[in-house]
Assembly symmetry: C2
Homo-oligomer: 469 residues x 2
């Protein structure tokens, strides 16, 4: 593909165009700028919203009152980006990618003006869009998503205005459980309605059950196995309840936390390759497959799961930042790769910590892997040390080879980040027997003499060895 004919830049300076001003896009732009001066590389970035480089993951803590101010969630403002010679065009939506001619069409959201901008190199970082259930009432006042800072502000405004104290959260994944905490912290009676058999479907149901019980212990009403059919409004048009097949749950405010899908409308229209989950497909350098000069990263791409060998879609700021770093390096003529993920995630609801990495049982089955499981209970510190709290660790290992396949942890303080031990072990392809010997940090305030992850590895090793063939 010879794109030089399509260039409208004069002189030898290359132009890098970035679509999307959040974590992946602006990390890419910043990293490219670090490596190449403005004389060498022009960088134009388009963002359709009001903000750049914000932490969507931080919204629940802003809504819940742990974070005082919206601006704390903004890692770098448009002005800061511009001060680094990035031509950042806010409130400007890219409406078309013309791959053949190497240009994008942009529209000023406020004025409606449209124009074409050519690129030598293109970064697609269009993020994800929240799944909005297809049912009546989702647009009623008092019903909120929590994807953007604008969403967060709208929810906070509603919470400030609303007298009633009944909140319903639809969905019990990461966003759902974190929003449940936020609403508890603001003094609401919280009901979580979830169509899965247990909350946190990113865990196996037996571990999800522990989350269910712990959330009930925190005073949250958990309604599992239940599809929301309708959001009911009152005479004032505001939300008044969430309806399911069998029941109505009165609600003064409703938060939709059902998850997100890759935002790849533009990429699809441009004929770029998408995977089974609707995300862009890239190579290890984060280049869109088959396209020398187009990169993509963040919530709009699929990533390789190193454990299953299959592509997945995971919307997570930490990946988006890494993608941006890799893309910026490569777009500036350097070399970096993003080898893939092992599927690590951690969350909390009040003092309950929830973590997972690798494959669940059903992921392993889907990947054609046979496995054994081991579940243990242990404590975060030596049993005799004050404030030692219990945790449950579940481990999956491949049948016969004993290769670690996944770990799930539910517990209190000190439980969540222990998943990192397993994340590194998964990346390294360790067996559970190798893990038993891991030289982990031990002292009574930090761990029992056998760290809970090692106790699980011991039990998993036994299960592997007990397998007949």
């Amino acid at each position: 593909m010879n794109m030089s004919a399509a260039r409208d830049v004069s002189g030898p300076r290359e132009r890098l165009v970035v679509i999307g001003g959040d974590a992946a896009g602006m990390s890419a732009a910043s990293q490219a700028r670090r490596l190449r001066s403005a004389e060498e590389l022009e960088i134009v970035a388009f963002e359709r919203g009001h903000f750049t480089s914000f932490s969507a993951c931080g919204i629940p803590y802003w809504v819940g009152g742990d974070v005082d101010d919206r601006d704390q969630l903004i890692a770098r403002s448009p002005e800061e980006h511009r001060a680094r010679d990035i031509d950042l065009r806010m409130r400007t939506e890219v409406t078309e990618i013309d791959v053949a001619r190497g240009r994008v069409r942009a529209r000023d959201v406020d004025s409606g003006d449209e124009y074409w901008t050519s690129y030598d190199k293109l970064v697609i970082a269009t993020g994800a869009r929240p799944i909005r259930p297809d049912m009546p009432g989702t647009d009623a006042p008092g019903v909120h998503g929590v994807q953007t800072l604008d969403d967060g502000q709208a929810l906070i405004d509603t919470l400030t205005r609303t007298r009633g104290r009944r909140a319903v959260v639809v969905g019990a994944g990461y966003i759902g459980v974190e929003m449940a905490e936020a609403l508890i912290n603001r003094g609401y009676e919280v009901t979580v309605v979830n169509r899965g058999s247990e909350p946190m479907s990113t865990l196996d149901p037996d571990m999800g059950r522990l989350v269910h019980e712990a959330m009930e212990g925190l005073g949250i009403t958990m309604v599992d196995d239940t599809e929301v059919t309708k959001i009911l409004t009152g005479e004032d048009g505001r939300v008044r309840a969430v309806a399911t097949e069998d029941a109505e749950y009165p609600a003064d405010v409703v938060v939709l936390g059902i998850g997100v899908r890759p935002e790849t409308t533009l990429a699809r229209a441009a004929g770029l390759p998408l995977g089974d989950h609707g995300g862009l497909l890239t190579d290890l350098a984060m280049r869109v497959r088959g396209h020398e000069n187009i990169w993509a990263g963040g919530d709009c791409v699929e990533v390789l799961d190193l454990v299953s060998g299959q592509e997945r879609h995971i919307a997570l700021g930490t990946h988006a930042n890494k993608h941006g770093q890799v893309i910026g390096t490569n777009a500036a003529g350097g070399y970096a790769t993003f080898p893939g993920v092992v599927g690590t995630a951690v969350s909390k609801v009040c003092d309950l910590e929830i973590a997972r990495t690798g494959l669940r049982e059903k992921d392993a089955r889907r990947a054609g892997l046979q496995y054994v499981t081991a579940t243990i209970e242990s404590t975060s510190r030596a049993g005799y040390y004050p404030n030692s709290s219990s945790m449950t660790v579940k481990m999956l290992a491949e049948r016969r080879t004993g290769r670690l396949l996944g770990v799930q942890i539910v517990g209190r303080e000190g439980a969540g980040k222990r998943v990192d031990i397993a994340a590194v072990a998964l990346t390294a392809g360790m067996t559970v027997e190798q893990m038993v010997s891991l030289d982990l940090g031990y002292a009574p305030p930090f761990s029992p003499v056998w760290d809970p992850v090692l106790v699980a590895a011991r039990k998993a090793t036994k299960a592997v060895n007990a397998g007949t063939s």
Copy 2:
């Protein structure tokens, strides 16, 4: 070596003799019993002290008042061991190992009676002995080691009786800093006298400096680069001060925390192989080298450092427990190995957390490795999340190859156990560039979007790549 001639057991039942009733010895005994019934394997264990299977690491927290009761530090009492068909002989010291005839001589400490017991299989778990400085006054009332539960009780008795509130801790390694915290918690004015240039010589001096400053911030008087020459006593014979070349530090109580050496007097006399650090040398199955039926583990052995390829002596309960597990499995006819350590250790002084794994700069030099270093500051949680605290991470990577060589972390809550990420990466032989892509748990209450360990890995990668050759 044919040892069957030396057996004095009748019938086919084998006898396993264990010397030492603490972590390594009793873990070995327990594991062997799990795998082999009393009909198949007789187990005789000798312990010269009053306690079995106690947590020496827990003593500072008992002295400091975090742990109420001595018995909480005992994982398993003599009665519990005996209930599992282990013939445990308390207050019985082994005085000789007769390898040629496959027997040990034991002495009842109270009665003085001596007798020989033959073995088919022998486990040496004689632990370590505290280094007692060779200077006047170390035996004076008010001067205490903290190696055994009896030591801990004696110190607590002194603290309870003593009116004065001035404590001097000699040594600033793990025991020293943990005892400093214990004494602070009991309301003492604490001075730590340390002959190294900074406290925590298990860290590089630049990181030790941070510990020095933080300990001073906690109100502890730090005296570095200073050798204690004498312990001064008053007219009542009790300690009254600690003297150095230049000064005297008044002391109502003195705690010696200078470290330990392998207790291998018996092994040496028996002609068993010892290493440069005075510890027993074993193979990967924890068998004493050259001896089919003798195993050794815990604080009396040297272990292979997987990073330097050299033997080290590390007295740590977590290793002792793993050794015991491996020995018990092998002595019972199973198969297990202890591949070695990477040198992970974690400690705390009040809210300061100190961790290290792998090689320090001087270890790397000694091992013939050339390296680059990177030191970064970051936070335990997202910067905007409440109670986010700062930490410093130092990383060593091999020149050119970029292989991770070591990590040191000093910070507050959430700093210490992050060293586990590096411990697993070291075990797997990862490069710092590979670490940059690690899929670690991220959510604002748990980590910034780039975990501090990843930030250090990024900087170390740059340093490796900047190397000219």
